[in-house]
C-alpha cells in the first residue's frame, strides 16, 4: 500500500473522493455563477447575459430588507465572539493543565454545550429574557448564545494543543527568571499563535453563520443568517444568490486570512529559527 504502483483500490477511492468534493463545492459554485445573472435572468440556468444587476439590487434598501445593517451587525458580533472565544479558551486551556476542584464538571458542561441542540439554547435564552421582562438583542442574548457554541470548540482545540505543548519551554523561561506573565506573553503565546488563530477562525465564522442560536435571541434587529432566511420565503430572484456570494465571500476571506497568517508564521519560524534574547 505504501510503495510501488497504485492499485485499483486507490483509483476507486480517489474517484469517490473527487465526487465527494464536487458534491461539497458544486452547489455553492453554481449559485456563485448564477449571482451574475443578467437583469432578466431567473433562479435557474440558462444565464440570460452577465451583469452585476443583482449585487446593485442587494444594496438598495427597499428591495431586500436591511441587508447592509444585518451584515454590519453580524460582522461586529462575529468579531466580538472571536475575541472572547480566543481569550477565554486560551486562559481556560492554561487552567485545565492541572486538576482543580470543579474541573470535571466544567469539562462536562462544555461537552453538554456542544450536544444540547442549538434550538434549545435559543429557546431557553429567549424564554429567560421573556420571563425577566428583558428585550433580547444581538449584542447581549445572541452574543451569549453564540459563545455557548464557540467556546466548547475553542476549549477542545486548546486541550489538543496543550497536550502537544512541550512544558520544558516554560520551565526554561522560569529558570531564566521570567515571571508567569512574561512566560505566557513571550513564550507560550508566540509558540501557540497559529492555534490561537485557528480558534479565532472558529469563533468568527461559527458566530457569523449561526442561525438557530440567533433565532429567539437576536431581538428586533436581525443578524445576517436570519435576514437571509427571511428572504428565502419572499424573494424569488437571483438577488438571493448575490447575497449568498457576498456572504460566502466574507467567510472565504476569513478562512484565507487565517490560513495565510498561519503559513506565514510557520515560514518565518523555519527561516529565523529561534528568536531567543530578542524579547528582552
Amino acid at each position: 500500500m505504501q510503495h510501488g504502483k497504485r492499485g485499483p483500490a486507490f483509483w476507486l477511492l480517489g474517484a469517490f473522493f473527487c465526487l465527494f468534493v464536487l458534491f461539497l463545492y458544486g452547489p455553492t459554485l453554481t449559485i456563485l455563477i448564477l449571482s451574475f445573472q443578467g437583469p432578466s435572468g431567473g433562479l435557474t440556468f440558462p444565464m440570460n447575459g452577465v451583469s452585476l444587476h443583482w449585487f446593485r439590487n442587494l444594496f438598495e434598501k427597499q428591495m431586500v430588507g436591511d441587508f447592509a445593517g444585518s451584515l454590519q451587525r453580524s460582522l461586529l458580533l462575529g468579531m466580538a465572539v472571536m475575541l472572547v472565544t480566543v481569550v477565554a479558551s486560551f486562559s481556560a486551556g492554561l487552567a485545565f493543565r492541572s486538576r482543580f476542584r470543579g474541573s470535571g464538571i466544567l469539562f462536562y458542561l462544555a461537552i453538554a454545550s456542544l450536544i444540547v441542540p442549538s434550538i434549545l439554547i435559543s429557546l431557553g435564552i429567549g424564554l429567560l429574557y421573556r420571563v425577566l421582562g428583558w428585550d433580547p438583542a444581538w449584542y447581549s442574548s445572541a452574543f451569549g448564545a453564540h459563545l455557548t457554541w464557540t467556546l466548547p470548540f475553542g476549549l477542545l482545540i486548546m486541550f489538543a494543543v496543550f497536550n502537544r505543548f512541550d512544558r520544558r519551554y516554560e520551565e526554561a523561561a522560569r529558570y531564566l527568571g521570567a515571571t508567569s506573565w512574561q512566560t505566557i506573553r513571550h513564550v507560550v503565546v508566540p509558540i501557540l499563535l497559529p492555534s490561537l488563530i485557528g480558534v479565532g477562525l472558529f469563533g468568527f465564522t461559527l458566530s457569523y453563520d449561526e442561525f438557530a442560536r440567533s433565532l429567539y435571541t437576536a431581538g428586533t434587529f436581525n443578524t445576517l443568517p436570519l435576514e437571509i432566511y427571511g428572504m428565502t420565503t419572499n424573494v424569488t430572484t437571483p438577488v438571493l444568490y448575490a447575497l449568498g456570494t457576498v456572504t460566502t465571500g466574507v467567510s472565504v476571506l476569513a478562512i484565507a486570512l487565517s490560513l495565510l497568517s498561519v503559513t506565514w508564521l510557520r515560514r518565518r519560524r523555519t527561516r529565523h529559527g529561534s528568536d531567543a534574547g530578542k524579547a528582552a
Binding site: 500500500m1 455553492t28 444540547v116 439554547i121 431557553g124 424564554l127 467556546l151 443568517p225
Partner: protein, 284 residues
C-alpha cells in the same frame, strides 16, 4: 498547590464558567420551569401543571413527528458514516505525502466555515423544477416531465443533511486514523491479511472513538434541527424542532418548553449510550 495559584486557576476559567452558567444552565432551567406553566392566548402564567406534558404525549402528532425525526437521524447517520469513513480512509491511508493529506483534509473542512443557510439555498438551481437535474434527465430522454420530489421532499432534506454534516464524521474519523500506528498495518500484511481484512479487523476497531464522536455530532444536530427541514421540505415534512418553532410562533411557550424537555432527555439518552463506547478526553 498553593493558595495564590488556586485563585489564578479559578480566575482563568471564570469567563468560561460564567458563560456556561448564564447561557446554558440558567436557560435550560428556565425551559424546565416554564414547561410546567399555564398559558392563554396572550401570556404565560406561573403554575405547576402537568397538562403541557399530557397534551404533548397523548397526541399522535407528537409520536409521528418524533418517529420521523428519528428516521431522519438514522438515515443521515448511516449515510454520513459511510461517506465520511470512506473519504477519511482515502486521505489517511492512500494519500502518501503529508502535505497532500493536509491539503485534501482542508478541502473537506472549508465548507464547515461557510453559511449553512446559503449552502441549502445553493441546491435550488440543481433540484428545482427547471433545475439542472431535471433538464439533464429530460434532455437525455430518461423522463418526460420534471421530477417533483427532487426539491421540497424528504429526499432533499436528507440530501441537505448529508451535504452539511458529513464533515462532522470526516474530521474525528480522520483524527482516529492518523493515530493508528502504521507498523500495525505492516504486521497485518506480513501475517497475510488482505487490504480488506486489515480494514475490517485492524483499522475499523481502532476508529471506534472517532466514529462515536462523529455520530454524536450528526445525531444531535439532526435531532434538534428545524431550519433544514423547513427550507428543504418546503413545509411538507415535520421535525421536533419545527414543532417547537410552530408552538413558539403561536406564543404557546409552555407547550414548546415541554417539548424541549422531552427532546433534551431523548438526545441525552442517545448520547449517553454512544459515550459508553469512547472516552472523549483521551481523544484530544
Amino acid at each position: 498547590m498553593n493558595r495564590v495559584k488556586v485563585w489564578v486557576t479559578y480566575l482563568q476559567v471564570a469567563p468560561l464558567a460564567l458563560v456556561f452558567l448564564l447561557f446554558l444552565i440558567v436557560p435550560i432551567a428556565t425551559i424546565v420551569v416554564v414547561s410546567f406553566f399555564d398559558y392563554n392566548t396572550t401570556q404565560i402564567i406561573p403554575a405547576f401543571l402537568l397538562q403541557n406534558y399530557e397534551e404533548l404525549l397523548l397526541s399522535s402528532v407528537t409520536w409521528r413527528t418524533y418517529q420521523q425525526t428519528l428516521q431522519f437521524a438514522l438515515i443521515t447517520w448511516a449515510l454520513t458514516l459511510l461517506i465520511g469513513f470512506t473519504v477519511a480512509y482515502f486521505v489517511a491511508f492512500h494519500v502518501r505525502s503529508s502535505t497532500m493529506q493536509t491539503v485534501l483534509f482542508l478541502l473537506c473542512t472549508i465548507p464547515f466555515w461557510t453559511s449553512n443557510v446559503i449552502r441549502m439555498i445553493s441546491w435550488i438551481p440543481f433540484l428545482g423544477r427547471h433545475g439542472l437535474a431535471n433538464t439533464t434527465l429530460m434532455n437525455l430522454g430518461l423522463i418526460n416531465q420534471p421530477l417533483e420530489f427532487l426539491l421540497y421532499s424528504d429526499f432533499s432534506v436528507v440530501l441537505a443533511y448529508v451535504h452539511l454534516y458529513t464533515l462532522f464524521m470526516v474530521v474525528p474519523i480522520f483524527n482516529s486514523m492518523m493515530r493508528i500506528d502504521r507498523s500495525l498495518l505492516e504486521a497485518a500484511r506480513d501475517a497475510g491479511a488482505t487490504g480488506w481484512q486489515t480494514l475490517v479487523n485492524v483499522i475499523l476497531p481502532l476508529c471506534k472513538p472517532g466514529i462515536a464522536i462523529g455520530s454524536i455530532f450528526v445525531v444531535t444536530i439532526v435531532m434538534g434541527d428545524f431550519v433544514t427541514v423547513r427550507m428543504m421540505s418546503g413545509g411538507l415534512s415535520a421535525s421536533v424542532g419545527l414543532m417547537m418553532a410552530n408552538a413558539m410562533s403561536l406564543l404557546q411557550y409552555p407547550a414548546a418548553a415541554a417539548n424541549a424537555v422531552v427532546l433534551l432527555l431523548l438526545v441525552l439518552g442517545i448520547v449517553a449510550a454512544m459515550m459508553r463506547m469512547v472516552d472523549i478526553r483521551k481523544e484530544l
